[in-house]
Symmetry: C2
Subunit: 122 residues, 2 copies
């Protein structure tokens, strides 16, 4: 049983599902509305399965309206992803001096623990 974040990332690792999320970012949609762009390339049960994956990952919620099942985005899962990636911001924002500085601070704390790896030959 994978943890939530694993479920979420796993759900996002599919372009069909990401396209469905993109569609939902423009508002609620029923299963068949969501399915419409994909029916050339996959069956309806396949769509149902994708939606189930998104639902289990907490990325969407489904409700009932007559025979329809309107879906919408669920903020929390997106926030979880955003929070996770946030901790790496320093690595992708090109401020190499700050990064370098940062890496040195962590390294310094670390060297009290075990003096092995970072002395190299050459």
């Amino acid at each position: 049983m994978p943890d939530n974040l694993s479920l979420t990332f796993s759900a996002l690792a599919d372009p069909t599902r990401r396209a469905m999320l993109a569609r939902l970012s423009e508002g609620e949609a029923s299963v068949s509305e969501l399915a419409e762009p994909f029916l050339k390339s996959m069956s309806l049960p396949a769509v149902t399965k994708h939606l189930k994956v998104l639902e289990k990952a907490g990325l969407i919620t489904k409700s009932k309206d007559a025979q329809f099942r309107p879906c919408k985005l669920n903020a929390e899962a997106f926030r979880d992803v955003a929070d996770w990636v946030e901790q790496y911001r320093i690595f992708w924002e090109e401020s190499f001096d700050r990064l370098d500085e940062y890496l040195k601070t962590v390294a310094a704390e670390k060297n009290k623990k075990k003096g092995r790896p970072n002395g190299r030959k050459k």
Copy 2:
């Protein structure tokens, strides 16, 4: 052949791999250094495989230093994830009025296209 973002999310969908990335956020590490916390629970070849997944996803790069293969984070893939999730920010930042407003604008644009789904019974 999945697209890059799919590869990346897929690589992130595993707690072992995310732990490796966390370790690398504290600085470069060789394969065996990265492996160390996991050797109780998995073999070295398993670690190699995980690293290969991270590498193919562009999340890390490997270099050579004698018989060691120091690994480090690769900013771009993280930026891709951050950029992707950014487009959903409005959904997870609790400004429901703005969200509501936003959704209405998109809906308005949309209603010129097809007048079906949003009239409801009850």
